[in-house]
Amino acid sequence: MKKKAFTTLLSLALMGGLVLGGCSSSGKSEDSSKSNSDKTVVKMMHLWPEGSAKAQYTIVDDIIKTYEKEHPDIDIQTEILANEQYKEKIKVLSASNELPDIGITWAAGYMKPFVEGNMFTPLDDIAQEDKFVAGTLDAFSVDEKPYALPLELNIAPVYYNKEIFKKYDLEVPKTYDEFLKVVKTLADKGVTPITLGNKDRWTGSMWYMYLADRIGGPETLNKAINRTGSFEDPALVKAAEEISKLVDMDAFVKGFNGLSNDEAKGYFMNEQAAMYIMGTWELPNYTTSPDVDQKFKDKVGYFKFPTYEGGKGNIDSFVGGPGVALFVSEQSKVKDEAKEFVSYLVEEWGKRSVVEAGVIPATTVDTTGSDLAQMYIDILNDLGKATNITLYADVQMSAGVADVHLNQIQALFGGQSSPKEFTKKQEEALASEK
């Protein structure tokens, strides 16, 4: 009993430490607000602490300093928290109506409760649609109005190992039939064609989304999710059938349903698998990261998901999604100033984020004259030409439906759900939500 009491005491002391730590950091930011009473104060919260995200921190810090120089009457005060704490704090602040003037949000499903609760102000007056990559603004729009301006963008190309392709005389596939031939050749030779960590489920969802896009066009899946269409659309069933076909061909690494994405990535990095679909956040591993052997980096290439014969989608449509975006609070007393700074920040960020932080911005990038790695330049060029970006299905859906979708993805890949059941279950989940 004594020991137990002692441990309890210790843990209480630890908890106390946490609470006190939380107090001190918020106390600091309040102190600094008093000193500049003659200036207009714009409060901003972001999630790139100097310690863990130095590149992003420096960019934002520089932009703020330049902006303040150009606008001497504005004082921008930042409060910085790391990702998880940031999410927590934003929830608490919004519950007590104390959101900062400018802050960071995530897309669709995450943002929706805030917009519905009237926390964010619409930014349609400052959003210049032509500056953003097609589709990115939509992810932050409710009823056609953007409520946040995106800063980051990730798309998912198919990475492949050039050496394995060369060894078996394979060409980069342009059509789905060619792709199936590649898969078959590799599988026959005993090489794992595709690595996939489907324990995490959203990974398999990317494959399904690409097939749905190539067969039914970008609208079909989106419509099924926003309830102007049905998930039992023939194109969506067809896409599920193609997935089952791939599984039957042994296209995916053995035991994919039990592998996490990180484990699956290992197969690609160790050259045990020829192809891998993943977001462009993987790019540093194939270009700049000092931890990866240069020999391996030289072997990695990427291609766009091939077109499906008779399908409605084209090759320049991508599955992907914007990362974080900037919002302006509805409660803010300095809305106009905040909006002006947001549009300035988004523009400047777009110019610098790839080169300095390896983060692809949601605004179109001019790559001429920069010394970026070739793969970045190629991806950015493809992005500039992108006709559409379909936001990850599980991000578009509400948490409950997303869970059904993700479970069904696992069941479809694992053969427990037939393509018909797969679409039916999701249709039911989507229909019962409204």
Binding site: K199, K254, G255, N257, D403, N407, Q416
Partner: protein, 292 residues
Amino acid sequence: MKNVMSNKFVITLYTLPALLLILVLIYIPITLSGYYGLMDWDGIGEMKFIGLENYVTLVQDKVFWTSTWHSFQLAIFSAASLLLYLGISLVLASKIKGSDLLRKIYLIPMLLSSVAIAQLWMKIFDPNNGMANKLLEMFGMENTPLWLADPNIALYSIFIPVIWQYAGFYILIYYAALKNVPDEVIEAAKIDGANALQIAFRIKLPLISGVFKVTIMLAVVGSLKYFDLIYVMTGGGPNGASEVMASYMYKEAFKLNNFGYGSAIGFGLLVICLVMTWLTSKLTKSNDDVQF
């Protein structure tokens, strides 16, 4: 001293800290979680009172009952593996060579954290490069199992590290109990001509039956609320094939933001655990407790 201890005020004072702690850390949270179970609450916004709706859903929820069945399978399995641990302790407690070293070896898994064990076994179960399948291939097996990826065996694959994880703990308990059996009794039996098996079954086991009952209870209740290895190794997947009650509760409350329903599951878990505790103690109760 006697005077102090008979003073009601002092007794209250001395037990107060412990009482407060147990109230604040255990009983109040339990009551609260039962109360939250009556709410429609996403964990952030406002709570809405919906009466017993969550509990009605819970009783009809197929996923919940499947996870309950999985938890019970684990409970039955853990209780059965106690016999294995008991056998090992009987061997270790008889004075064989190297029993000291062996005992320490069995204890090692207990010193590892659950997450480390999970990571270790995930590597072993890797379907292509893992130790388990490499061994099976060495013996010429061709269609090696998918372990955690196969919904038919994922749950049972996790049972293996669970036995391994708790071996040290139960062996230690049994070992200590067996060492407590007085030598005189055993010597007397030997003089009467009993062999080693007879000593084990007729003398040692009856004498430690009290300890055995306690371990059954520990194993059953521990299994019913089991969470850690399952959460790290499969997260309840693939497609819910290895979901247990605790992992289902976690998923509903924290992943799907249904705090109200998650609390209801937690409360259901509590009720099931209480019933099972009562049942096991009832079933293992006997009046002939041996004194020595």
